[in-house]
């Protein structure tokens, strides 16, 4: 197999942290999408590290918009393409979990309901990493962030992660999938499939973050794989209402996923047991809770 750097549509020299999960995801997504793509990038880490003025890491048409309106701007572009009779260009939103789970959610919900012709890729690093690791709706239970501190009264975030994929599913859109930064063949296949479908498509991709999760940078890929193996992140796709689980968990103890991450270092044995029980319950009885 030959692999050339010049084929990348997202070039080297972007200013992401060493070991950034989002950079792996964006490179993979761009290779799968090809040149006939327009990128709408919500405010996020990816916007900061890819379009540091006066440089740009993108080799395709690119627009940066605010947290709130990425889905709306993409809708406008898709409508304009439709008016021009262009039926081949893919309009893609790339946004973080802050713009997807929280701030841009209202507009995204409207766009999903109208089933606009947009491919939405959310890289979920489970907090507002760019602005200084504040908690978001995607932050998992008990995780430390700068706004969910560990003290004597409370330790980390007290709520479970918002299940965005299932909320999107309730909008009856044609294609929803999850993937991670550690399963790039799976991610490529899903992007290629989504590219061919008309209507609103959402791919929610788990993206380990060195700065916010606080682990050594070489573990990005391994942690993403552990999230699936432990059963915390569900790897599935829903095509026209039909659900397929792409990868069954190996039920690796959740502790192995938590151990390298300093955002979870305060977890007690009881906490880990509690989370493990909830995960087991989810996969056995469909109750309990998981992160994906």
């Amino acid at each position: 197999m030959e692999f050339k750097r010049e084929d990348d549509l997202f070039v080297s020299g972007h200013t992401a942290c060493a070991g950034c999960g989002a950079a792996i995801i964006i490179r993979t997504v761009m290779r799968a999408l090809g040149k006939d793509t327009i990128i709408v990038n919500a405010t996020s880490c990816s916007e900061i590290f890819s379009s540091c003025y006066p440089t740009s890491a993108w080799k395709v048409p690119y627009i940066h918009v605010t947290f709130e309106n990425a889905a709306a701007v993409a809708t406008g572009i898709a409508k304009a393409l439709e008016a021009k009779g262009n039926d081949h260009t893919t309009v893609v939103v790339i946004a973080g979990d802050g713009a997807t789970y929280d701030i841009g959610f209202g507009i995204m919900s409207g766009v999903m309901e109208r089933n606009e012709n947009v491919l939405y890729i959310c890289y979920d690093n489970e907090a507002y990493m760019n602005t200084g690791i504040q908690r978001s709706g995607a932050t998992p239970y008990k995780a430390w962030t700068t706004t969910s501190q560990v003290g004597t009264v409370r330790q980390g975030k007290q709520e479970w992660k918002k299940n965005l994929t299932e909320i999107a599913r309730a909008h009856n859109i044609p294609y929803i999938a999850t993937s991670t930064a550690g399963h790039l063949i799976d991610l490529t296949k899903k992007v290629e499939k989504a590219k061919k479908i008309k209507g609103f498509r959402l791919i929610n991709v788990l993206s380990p973050c060195v700065a916010g999760w606080k682990y050594p940078p070489n573990l990005t890929v391994k942690l993403a794989q552990l999230a699936v193996d432990t059963g915390l992140w569900k790897m599935y796709e829903v095509e026209n209402g039909k659900e397929t689980i792409n990868m069954q968990p190996k039920f690796t103890p959740v502790e192995e996923y938590f151990k390298p991450q300093k955002r979870f270092k305060h977890l007690t044995k009881e906490d880990i047991e509690d989370i493990q029980n909830k995960v087991n319950d989810y996969w056995k009885n469909g109750k309990g809770e998981i992160y994906g």
Binding site: F3, A18, T55
Partner: protein, 82 residues
């Protein structure tokens, strides 16, 4: 007034390789050219050529993901003395 805009792909001017404190050392005899390192590199700094994996040290930030994902352990990370 015309504000100059950033041209596509100009980020390659940023030589982010100066950030690293360790770097991959590839054993070409062991390399099976599978492409795992090149696909997983967040920087896109690795190329697979006829001779095996080739790192572009202008951009490598030294994260060590390539050494972690290599199935035949052909990559080791060496510390850089600064």
């Amino acid at each position: 007034m015309i504000i100059p805009h950033a041209k596509p792909g100009t980020a390659s001017k940023n030589k982010t390789g100066s950030w690293r404190d360790q770097e991959p050392d590839i054993n070409k005899n062991k390399c099976i050219k599978c492409g795992m390192c090149a696909t997983h590199c967040p920087e896109g700094a690795i190329e697979i050529t006829k001779d095996g994996a080739e790192v572009n040290y202008d951009y490598c930030k030294g994260c060590g993901i390539c050494a972690e994902v290599c199935p035949v352990k052909a990559i080791t990370m060496r510390k850089i003395k600064k």
